[in-house]
């Protein structure tokens, strides 16, 4: 805890030092070092198998690191995981809702799991329904919702617990462009209020939303910077070109 108190002053939502994960002989994440300022929206980019989801899983207690250390809001993910779990929430890549429960019941369920009393649950559910414009589907069973609505519910279920750090693992995967843009607006509205870590394969999503971007490849951190910095350094016109150059190892200005 002393360690945690010391780190609380640093104003990092997440601080990662030499974090490593091995699955047998396969190294999924190689000695990752990263600092994510409190309140920022940070995008983790990489091709499939780059180690993004494994990193998120380690930071949320879903996978134990093989080595290294990470602190979430000053708390160690190794020795203070129970505390970390109270401060974070995740919107997983796959839609993770209770299918036979209504939208409202899903939100109430998660609020209850995080120990909210009745009054606070009512207040937070109302807030989430309004924030995500879900009033019109609040009594609809989750399994009957369209992909876009399910994605919104997925994020609202993570946000209702008032996390200090929110992990969004490919939040707009598989939804149409209008629903995606709407979700972007919802995510954008959270900027500055909480620390958000976003993984995505959509470059325009990262470019539009992220304050800073970390690019990973084969479990290693290849580059960190704002979208504009990454484009400038790689002399690219768009983030996608910058991403490709970085991942393919084309030499560029550090």
């Amino acid at each position: 805890m002393r360690e945690a108190e010391g780190r609380a002053e640093m104003k990092y939502g997440i601080e990662i030092k030499g974090l490593r994960k091995e699955f047998g002989s396969k190294v999924a994440v190689k000695a990752l070092d990263l600092r994510i300022p409190e309140g920022s929206l940070y995008a983790l980019l990489g091709v499939n198998g780059a180690g993004k989801t494994t990193t998120i899983r380690m930071l949320t207690g879903l996978t134990k690191p093989t080595g290294g250390q990470a602190y979430v809001m000053g708390h160690s993910i190794s020795s203070e995981l129970d505390e970390v779990k109270k401060l974070v929430n995740i919107s997983p890549q796959e839609t993770s809702v209770a299918p036979n429960l209504t939208v409202r019941e899903n939100l109430e369920f998660i609020a209850g799991i995080y120990g909210f009393d009745k009054a606070k649950t009512v207040e937070k559910v109302r807030e989430m329904l309004a924030q995500f414009s879900m009033e019109e589907v609040e009594h609809q069973k989750a399994k009957t919702l369209s992909g876009g609505w399910q994605r919104k519910l997925n994020i609202a279920m993570a946000l209702i617990t008032e996390p200090k750090v929110l992990f969004l693992d490919e939040p707009t995967l598989g939804i149409d462009v209008l629903a995606r843009r709407e979700l972007w607006r919802k995510i954008e509205a959270l900027k500055g209020k909480i620390t958000i870590v976003l993984t995505t394969h959509y470059m325009e999503e990262a470019e539009s939303l992220a304050d800073e971007i970390a690019i990973m490849a084969k479990g290693e951190l290849m580059a960190v910077g704002s979208p504009k910095e990454l484009m400038r350094r790689t002399e690219s016109d768009c983030l996608e070109d910058a991403f490709v150059k970085i991942v393919e190892g084309v030499s560029y200005e550090e």
Binding site: T60, T63, K85, N89, I90, P92, Q93, N100, F109
Partner: protein
């Protein structure tokens, strides 16, 4: 508190599936009525006792529990295949709260099922001149409680180990075994031989026999049936809890 919230969610998930009503309630009740009609058609000189309402009521109530196992298995495996458990693993919930959250709703469902089965049996008994006493039915329900944990244990076990498609298959093996060698549909004592030896080595025969004891004239074998039922119920449920916890640890290794 968290386990109660999770239990309410599990209850809603199961009760909002129409198949729960068809299998957990409809099917045992249909079997109860059909077997009662068959019993009326069997000549008295055949000496066939197994379909008499005093044997059938506890037998069908036991049979109904096998469907509780089926729905427990489906629910646990479904939760595992959707990403809902992943979200919950990232929450402050403890393993014991998951177990309680899965167990409590299905125990309530099993008790409700027993009450309905015995109530219908009571009416059939009145119609056929074989009335069942309330104390007999209450004692029989009490005797069925260890078997509730046996089948809930099997449900959690199968749901943890296999996927949503394989869990019903595994459960159906036990549903058939419980019905046949448990002595619900045939007189195992009358058959003897290898069948009886196998039946006595499994918990189903003892569970059914224990549930039938309050309706019988003697308490023969009561201690053996009671011990087998309690030990097997506790062992299977304990194994299910251990396997669930170990699988959960493995999932987040």
């Amino acid at each position: 508190m968290k386990s109660k919230v999770f239990a309410v969610r599990t209850w809603k998930e199961i009760m909002r599936d129409p198949l729960s009503y068809i299998f957990c309630l409809g099917f045992p009740l249909v079997m109860l009525v059909i077997m009662s009609v068959i019993d009326k058609s069997i000549p008295a000189e055949a000496g066939m006792q197994v379909f008499r309402i005093r044997n059938l009521a506890p037998g069908i109530s036991y049979f109904g529990l096998t469907f509780v196992m089926l729905f427990t298995g489906i629910q646990v495996s479904k939760d595992r295949t959707t990403a809902l458990l992943l979200r919950l693993y990232a929450s402050p919930m403890k393993p014991v709260e998951y177990i309680f959250g899965y167990t409590m709703p299905v125990v309530v469902l099993a008790v409700m099922q027993m009450v309905i089965c015995f109530s219908v049996s009571f009416v059939i008994g009145l119609c056929t001149g074989n009335s069942l006493a309330v104390t007999e039915m209450l004692l029989s329900m009490l005797a069925l409680l260890p078997s509730v944990f046996l089948f809930v244990g099997f449900g959690i076990l199968f749901g943890t180990l296999v996927n949503e498609k394989a869990a019903p298959g595994l459960c159906s093996i036990l549903i058939s075994a419980a019905g046949m060698i448990g002595g619900i549909w045939m007189d195992v004592d009358g058959l003897g031989g290898a069948i009886k030896t196998v039946a006595r080595a499994l918990p189903f025969y003892h569970g059914v026999s224990l549930a039938r004891l309050p309706f019988g004239e003697t308490a023969e074998g009561a201690v053996e049936h009671l011990l087998w039922t309690i030990v097997c119920g506790a062992a299977v449920y304990g194994l299910a809890v251990t396997v669930f916890r170990s699988k959960m640890k493995k999932d987040i290794r």
